[in-house]
Subunit: 565 residues, 2 copies
């Protein structure tokens, strides 16, 4: 394709709202343009890469026997009510009322739809396993879309759903899909890590995320040299060993006027944060509960929900807190808080002479000793791991880094089948719920992650597999000889199946070289009069500084060798 | 692919809500399932055909130099306000308010978005022409979705937009796209006719529709043997010749209590409908106007809007009519109706001694003569052509038939550029609005139209080009010899690039043959013990009754010849 016909509007300036490299480069290289918050148009160059990612995914899905289908974007709200996800998703779920007054959900995923489809069309275990996928536009009404295509309101997703009679069979497909995902990300040129993850609103116990480590990522990875890896929501740290330095003291009330934060309290009491017990009042599935974590730790709501046996938790409002504790917000504590379940983090259990709220405005208690002064209903790991924590498996130091989630595999099992009545007859002729695995890949994020992790100062560096073109022909000047050589190279390469972008513009060499670097085509062939005088053209991979001088025919051979290597 | 792994849930019964053949067969053949009104899931077999249609379209778009991009589904409502289409589309436009209170439109087409995109990225005539397309899911909140995938709330569309400096250049691309559309529909195996069409809410003067004639269609085609062809909204008929049989009589008022319809009036006055003048009060761009058509004719609102020079018209409410005419609804007439513009159909002009409303409740006027008793502000063709009408070009008889609209090409010109400020510098360095062509194809409708026009009693008959598989191997029984032959055929055909569905099910021959006919695979190879005893298999095209006996190797050669013919 000739550049002059290709609609590649490169620009020199970074867009003013861009915070990360991929966002900047995707706009500057003419891959996309913003239409509205979290909604981007992919221009021809950008869309070529997206389509290549699609094709890689299709091939690997086919290879594991997954079948492609296509479900509607618009889904009946009623299905989402039945699985409880209308509530679980909350305002992030795009939904509205149609002209007949029916609730319509714009699918962020399709568990409800596919479970219903399978329930209606599969009746026997003999028709299982079944593995179905689609590549489709999905929607989320993000409160604050940002980071270019990393957090958007509309995005392209490959979502797959497998169905099984037994958990063993589910695990076989889960493993196949896990391996297929590895191949997909490998083929897309990504360096990724696989971490244990929270399943979130998809549901199910075990899940894994495929993460590309980069500062631009919004997710936090927690890793140990022993191989342990989890996302922050899931990560478990060793419970800090607390050697009691002193014997339990008597409980004592102190006046702490206005000290409602850990920070204020450590100053006022001259006590380190790890000697404080943070008491949080929350609502889980409509019922209040208290959660205790050490002052220097942060609550992990997903873990708390697990420990409390509820589907989700949220902070209680001030009115509820005041009613339950009898004190203003900031002075809650577990002592005497008998009306609601208390879930304590493991690290709280070993504390001696801690400080915590007195359930009395402007007062805290000192000398608080768990077990003596209060008894939690449950003790569990309910906190976020934090820098400085040790690995729960090997006691090594946990490392924290940022990453982009590009894929996620789940095992929701019978969650959706139970809610929607998806059953099959087993070998004994009895109905049993079908078990489900769910698998997702974010195509736009693969693109962004490849840019984030491979770009240099000059621009994008595409891996060959997903480059919009494999070769860029840079024609310098418009002399007959240059033109004829460019045309011959274009034809020879194209005839051999190579995808060539031919920069035929009447522009200065500097502009062309800068644009070639910016858009990141893996191989560049420069056709200029000087080299041509000796019968040569210049071949330069995007990753190298110096070009190689070659006769045109040799350049074609070398290009084809590099593409197929 | 083996049938046992392919998720093809064929069913014997027609779905209860299906009115047309394509709907029935698409469900029965396991191509799709309904999720909600106007929203269907494409199952793997159906999706294969959709993907083939996509590929044919992509190849033909590439061939005319169109570039593929991908714009968001969600569009800012503000853009639609600026072009007036928020109102013009009305309730059929799916739209809602997001969590930040912004109006979001789910795109039924993308003129606003692409015009903005081009305006922001193209500044000079040197960058034109530009032809951009996408294949994308579109949305319409149809009041009554029906006819399977022919009228749905969500559908797959190829929409293209071309941009030009001059109308001549626009016409060049329009012609190229028109020809590309012909090739696309040819390649998809459709018999189609091209008709002049109304542009509707897309706008612009000239447009053409690609129609597949079939009773299942919702559109009406009007054709003449001279080659004239238009859709009903656009069709022009010759003005009926009225030889005055009598001289003008005096105007006379008659009492017509309760006669508010043409039907009641013809009975009460004992006058044929063609002697009545129907007077309709409408509102065009907010202002009232009266439209006159002969009693046996129907108003064409699009033509009226053109003639009145307004963007759209709608019937006035009863209150407005009563206020303007001084009479109850049903008694309006042009005589003395001086406060509003009167637009008369051409056929009204020649009427002598007509009857019409007296602008007085329960009264009509007789002996009404246009020109003498009232003078229209405008005389124009504002009616729908009707059976019995003659061709305006050759006076031949117009033929009416039903059809499915599968494609539509438009020339909205500067409509969107003017509204959204899309300008480029021309050769003289002056800004001028960029001109636009718009082109659409309904992929799901191609699929349905191919089924409607080619099915027989037994089921679908796919053209080779868009068949989900090219060959079905029907294995009868499970003997070693049958299995080995089937496997060898499967491998040989697949190795030669043929797409094969292998019916490996343990089912009766009748079930397999019926299913093969139902899903309409073009070529069937049957492998049974009886023929195999003589070294043969049976090859039968879907369109033929009798199979041909061939040795397996010869069957492979014949299949490949038939596929490539």
């Amino acid at each position: 394709m000739k550049w002059s016909k290709a609609f590649i509007p490169t620009v020199k300036e970074d867009p003013s709202d861009a915070e990360v490299v991929s966002h900047k480069l995707m706009v500057r290289a003419g891959l996309m343009r913003k239409l509205a918050a979290g909604a981007y148009s992919y221009l021809p160059l950008g869309y070529r890469t997206l389509r290549k990612i699609e094709q890689i995914i299709r091939r690997e899905m086919e290879a594991v026997g997954a079948l492609e289908l296509h479900m509607p974007v618009i889904q009946p709200g009623e299905l989402w009510e039945r699985t409880g996800r209308l509530k679980a998703y909350g305002p992030v779920l795009m939904n509205f009322t149609d002209r007949h007054g029916r609730r319509v959900v714009l699918g962020p995923t399709h568990e409800e739809v596919i479970t219903t489809l399978v329930a209606d069309n599969i009746s026997s275990y003999k028709q299982l396993p079944l593995n179905l996928y689609q590549i489709q536009t999905k929607f989320r009404d993000e409160y604050r879309p940002r980071f270019g295509v990393l957090r958007t309101r509309e995005f392209l997703m490959k979502d797959a759903y497998s169905f099984h009679l037994t958990i063993e069979d589910l695990k076989v497909t889960y493993e196949k899909m896990y391996q297929a995902y590895c191949r997909i990300f490998d083929r897309c040129g990504l360096d990724y890590v696989i971490v244990e993850a929270e399943s979130g609103p998809i549901g199910g116990e075990s899940s894994h995320e495929f993460m590309v480590p980069t500062e631009a990522g919004e997710d936090t990875l927690v890793r140990c040299s022993c191989g342990y890896a989890a996302n922050l929501e899931r990560a478990t740290a060793a419970t800090p060993k607390t050697e009691p330095k002193e014997s339990p003291k008597d409980l004592r009330q102190v006046h702490t006027p206005g000290a409602t934060t850990i920070d204020e309290l450590t100053k006022m009491l001259n006590t380190p944060a790890e000697q404080l017990i943070k008491t949080l009042v929350l609502v889980g599935d409509g019922k209040p509960l208290a959660a205790l974590v050490r002052g220097d730790h942060e609550l992990n709501e997903a873990k708390l929900a697990h420990a409390a046996g509820v589907s989700n938790v949220q902070m209680a409002d001030a009115q509820t807190i005041e009613k339950l504790t009898g004190a203003a917000v900031g002075f809650a504590g577990p002592v005497g808080l008998s009306d609601l379940p208390i879930i304590a983090d493991k690290a709280v259990q070993g504390m001696v002479n801690a400080a915590t709220g007195a359930n009395k405005t402007d007062y805290h208690l000192l000398g608080v000793n768990p077990g003596r002064d209060f008894t939690p209903s449950t003790v569990a790991d309910i906190r976020l791991a934090a820098p400085g924590d040790r690995c729960a498996k090997c006691n090594g130091e946990l490392k924290f880094s940022k990453g982009i989630e590009v894929g996620h595999v789940f095992q929701p099992g019978a969650k959706y089948s139970d809610a929607l009545g998806a059953q099959v007859l087993n070998e004994k002729g009895k109905n049993q719920p079908v078990l489900m695995g769910t698998y997702g890949i974010g195509l736009n994020r693969i693109m962004a992650a490849a840019i984030e992790t491979r770009a240099d100062e000059q621009g994008i560096i595409w891996p060959m597999s997903i480059a919009p073109f494999q070769v860029i022909l840079v024609q310098l000047g418009q002399s007959d000889q240059v033109l004829a050589t460019a045309e011959k190279l274009y034809e020879d390469l194209t005839a051999r199946g190579c995808e060539v972008l031919w920069d035929d513009r009447d522009a200065r060499p500097g502009v062309k070289f800068n644009d070639a670097d910016l858009i990141g085509i893996p191989l560049r062939i420069t056709i200029g009069e000087k080299a041509l005088a000796k019968g040569n053209v210049e071949l330069k991979p995007r990753t190298e500084k110096q070009p190689q001088l070659l006769e045109p025919a040799a350049a074609v051979d070398t290009v084809m060798r590099l593409i197929n290597s």
